[in-house]
Symmetry: C2
Subunit: 110 residues, 2 copies
């Protein structure tokens, strides 16, 4: 059995929780948001949100920038690389995905 790099572990663990995935998705969509803004509509308390953000941060998936009394968090999509690499490695899936790839390349050419 192979030992996975600690990074990958942290990322998988971070995404195991749906609330954390939702936070990450929201940060991907809406850009930089404060903890307060993220707490709105999250159905959990502010400390809970802060803890989730800490987990995402320790996995390198988000960054927090202090601005005065508030902290704006933003997503770090490049941190998904270990995930995509892992998937690329362990799925014959690509073969099928490649079917629609010609079209994709054509669209990129335009």
């Amino acid at each position: 059995m192979t030992i996975s790099p600690p990074n990958r572990d942290l990322i998988f663990r971070a995404f195991a929780d749906p609330t954390r995935r939702a936070l990450f998705e929201r940060l991907c969509r809406d850009g930089a948001l404060t903890v307060h803004a993220l707490t709105e509509g999250a159905a959990i308390s502010q400390p809970a949100v802060s803890k989730h953000l800490a987990v995402l941060k320790s996995a390198g998936l988000v960054h927090g920038r202090v601005q005065g009394r508030e902290t704006r968090y933003h997503a770090e999509p490049m941190a998904l690389a270990p995930l995509t690499d892992w998937l690329a490695h362990y799925s014959s899936f690509w073969d099928h995905k490649l079917d629609g790839l010609g079209d994709l390349l054509k669209r990129m050419d335009q």
Copy 2:
């Protein structure tokens, strides 16, 4: 906050555990294996392996086929689709991945 399809939840939860990822990886590499074979070198007991396999199975990631007194499990790489879809949606990462794609297509043409 969006509600994720239950499938995705199950897959992420299943992969949260490194032992389960290792089992899945091994089944991807080595094809169909018995529980006994998977237990060898897994550093955990056979019941533990069985439980992990049950989790992977409930996520659709592996299938078990009973053959006499043994059960051979095999990976179901297509079940990774929800993961790749999610990643494709939430990563600007693909743009970079596409760089090496021309070569890949050429190789497939041969």
